[in-house]
Symmetry: C2
Subunit: 332 residues, 2 copies
């Protein structure tokens, strides 16, 4: 067995976020569904940038945000995702490596540009994403380095990987290698509409034992089980053979196993500025807890604190030393 080097390895779409405030009217005018992630082409990306307000540019990508959160919590991390060797790709790679994340995926030298997501923050703090996948479309199973997967205690995969067609194979390959090495595999459902697109496949991943841990928010879980009733969805999740972690914004989270469902409250905040990255950072905290062998309630508490930091400023990457923040809360 390969020696464990990393607590968590993330596999996801490598994206840089371009974030601006927007009024509700703007979303209506641009016909974007509030709170969702929309896939857009290059032309639409150019249009949205032209009409959007002054922007803040911060690296993003769901699994990458999580991995950076784990690294900021002093976890050892690695990331696999596809950028192009362009200015935006350089920003993405810099921000990962500057946080101490091992990132060695070969950058594409031709083909589409590094992915960008144009994110609109409405006055209520909700984020609406418009993602140009660009270079992410070129992630293949060849990019999954076997040694890195085998050296990681937990592999964290994002549901969004189902959007670029070739990435599924990378996902499946990573899961197989991980399980052969006796590692755990976690999946985040990413987005209710993403679940809509790939419901059958996600349920298959869960039921064939391809994933061991599921992260979902309330809307994603309801979408997975096609029910409007949250309790019904939680019941369905309880019957799967996975560890389920369900986030509910200000209502906290639920940890769902066959044996028990545990509710953990959210961390109170002063002001919701930008919800981008809330779920990603919750997952980061939870995974760090798991990697250290903490009980599920403690894992969820670490997740809640990490999430509370990232939603009080613009951007899905932490701006405060998360490790110190945990220490202040007696959790470091």
């Amino acid at each position: 067995m390969v020696r464990q080097i990393y607590d968590v390895l993330g596999l996801g779409n490598a994206i840089v976020d371009v974030i601006a405030r927007a009024e509700e009217d703007f979303l209506l005018k641009e016909r974007v569904r509030k709170g969702a992630m929309h896939l857009i082409d290059e032309r639409r990306a150019e249009h949205l940038y032209a009409v959007m307000g002054p922007a803040t540019i911060v690296s993003g990508g769901s699994a990458a945000n999580t991995i950076v959160g784990v690294a900021e919590l002093a976890g050892r991390t690695a990331y696999i995702g596809k950028i192009k060797a362009d200015d935006v790709g350089r920003i993405f790679a810099h921000d990962l490596r500057a946080t101490g994340v091992h990132f060695a995926t070969r950058a594409a030298t031709n083909g589409p540009a590094t992915a960008q997501s144009f994110i609109f923050i409405t006055p209520d703090g909700e984020r609406t994403m418009n993602t140009y996948l660009g270079a992410c479309l070129n992630l293949t199973s060849e990019d999954v380095d076997e040694m890195t997967v085998r050296a990681s205690a937990i592999i964290y995969l994002e549901g969004y990987l189902w959007d670029p067609p070739a990435a599924k194979k990378a996902f499946v390959k990573a899961s197989h290698i991980a399980h052969a090495a006796d590692r755990r595999v976690a999946l985040t459902l990413s987005d209710p509409f993403c679940v809509d697109r790939y419901r059958t496949e996600f349920l298959q991943l869960i039921r064939t034992g391809m994933v061991d841990i599921i992260f979902a928010n309330e809307r994603e879980l309801k979408s997975l089980y096609q029910t409007a009733d949250f309790a019904t969805a939680v019941d369905a999740l309880r019957c799967e053979n996975v560890l389920g972690v369900v986030t509910r914004s200000e209502h906290g989270s639920l940890v769902v196993t066959r044996e028990a469902t545990t509710a953990v409250p959210a961390t109170p905040i002063e002001r919701l500025v930008d919800a981008t990255g809330a779920g990603d950072l919750f997952a980061a905290g939870f995974l760090v807890g798991l990697a250290r062998g903490a009980d599920h309630t403690t894992c969820a508490r670490i997740g809640a604190i990490a999430a509370s930091e990232v939603i009080q400023h613009i951007g899905a990457r932490p701006q405060t030393n998360l490790h110190n923040l945990m220490a202040e809360n007696g959790l470091a």
Copy 2:
């Protein structure tokens, strides 16, 4: 006389900020003087980016920050500054225009890249800047559009313009045109070390009537008059034939004229996150007040509120609707 179209026209170095948190040790190791603005070359820029932490990218530039603040306060604005037609330049231009600023300076198609400032935020919220001037070195008096200057009630010039050699002429040309059109000219002293570099010239600008309004913080004012005693510096400023506006961080501001010196308190804040842009946004609020014919105390109150917004998040551009913020404070 040309009809007034703009409340404030800004002329300055067009810069995009790359901002990261850093410990005090890091500044020592990299030999950068805390709180100052350092001029760096391309090689040093590459080095600093390589060693700096994960970054947030936001448009900056002292006078540009001020102009965006004025625009966010519903003032009519224009800006003159030099970018290159590259990715970073596109970001700078987008962010100005997206705020409604008239920005028509021709972008350079060759020569050095658009300017970037690598800014380190220490845990105390102080910012230390390392600026690669790049394309700013190509700003010349030809870039000063006479009609735009004549159409602006106040011309706002940054002392940093003395760094790129050709920009001085642009500065002087703008001042001459403005005064010939019976407009007012404001100068910010920018930085105590900038004052050190150009003290004689700045004093000459003041004493030959080239500028009518001076913005300075405490350290810049002391540097201008080469005194360690603040009262002595204020006395010296009072004897000049200008409207003096002196900012003192949490101690508020002083409005200094021959007739009176008025102290206005700072706006209380919850937490100082990043001091970048504090002076720029104070100037924005003050200038908006002046343009609307408000008394000096009201001008300084608007400035204090605008400054308080920008120091509670990363980046020198507002993230809240400043106009609403003023309305909440009975100042819109």
